[in-house]
Symmetry: C2
Subunit: 147 residues, 2 copies
DNA sequence: CTTCAATTCTTGAATATTCAATATTTTCAA
DNA sequence: TTGAAAATATTGAATATTCAAGAATTGAAG
């Protein structure tokens, strides 16, 4: 039952490749939707994570939104300029910076979520709800098994 | 049965996010393996695709290896310097450039494949052969349904 | 306590990617 | 057959990402 690809089998049989391809495609579609608000996918992730209203440290946030620390720092700089988020020094550990979403950021986040949800609805339509749920379940457990 | 995320559900319930997360994780693992040969994942893809021995145009290749044209051009420049691949102008359509893999490139490709296969074997061990195959099948059909 | 190592975030330089424009060749309609 | 439009690949400038180093704070061992 276990069938890793053979040495000479096409690249399209590698899990790593299929994941990259699927991710690229879905990400591109999402990008198109979000471009209505002129915002990259990463900013949607950031706003979504911060929208729980709690402060999140840069380290936490970087993990959650799948960005390296320096990349996140620079993206947050831009978002601060756009008044979408703001920094507060963590009073209990002054090495840390806690990020919060502004009202403006919350409003944008809401609009972005609508767009993201509508994308997923579109996927569910063409791909099927059952497949979508199975795929999600399998991805979650792959991620779990990789830690 | 169809359950797209609600507006306020966590980002971890979005297919787009799960794909990005899984891809990031698996890609990172592969990167570690391939670093033994000092080669980025994209070069593995390129060498693998070219290893069928046929000439592939830059356009074809860019699609196959999931890179934009200019990015591919520059990566190929490096690989030409490293004598892994070479360019030939397509005699039947001189707008096109056909890429071929050199002997040195073939040898490297073989070693890279061993590493990539061993990664997938490792995934199969911890994640299970059944899950791996199901996941691959679902990813393939997601990709199909997105065209 | 004090000092040294670890943690957290940011910065700057090096590197890579992307966007828009260019050059070349082919296609095809008039 | 000619000339305009489309297709293909590359280039250069603008942008973004990454790597390595730095600054500030905390933790913890002696």
């Amino acid at each position: 039952m276990a069938k890793p690809p053979k040495e000479n089998s096409p690249i399209t049989e590698h899990l790593a490749y299929l994941l990259a391809q699927a991710n690229r495609e879905i990400n591109r579609q999402l990008e198109v939707r979000l471009s209505k608000e002129g915002v990259p996918v990463e900013q949607w992730r950031i706003l979504k994570v911060l929208s729980d209203g709690n402060g999140h440290s840069m380290g936490e946030l970087a993990d959650a939104v799948l960005l390296n620390h320096p990349t996140l720092t620079k993206m947050i700089d831009r978002m601060v300029s756009d008044a979408l988020v703001y920094r507060v020094q963590d009073p209990t550990d002054r090495r840390k910076v806690l990020m919060f979403v502004s009202d403006r950021g919350k409003a944008l986040s809401k609009r972005l979520n609508t767009l993201a949800v509508s994308q997923e609805e579109h996927i569910v339509e063409s791909y099927g709800g059952k497949s979508t749920n199975e795929l999600k379940r399998l991805l979650e457990s792959l991620i779990d098994s990789s830690n």
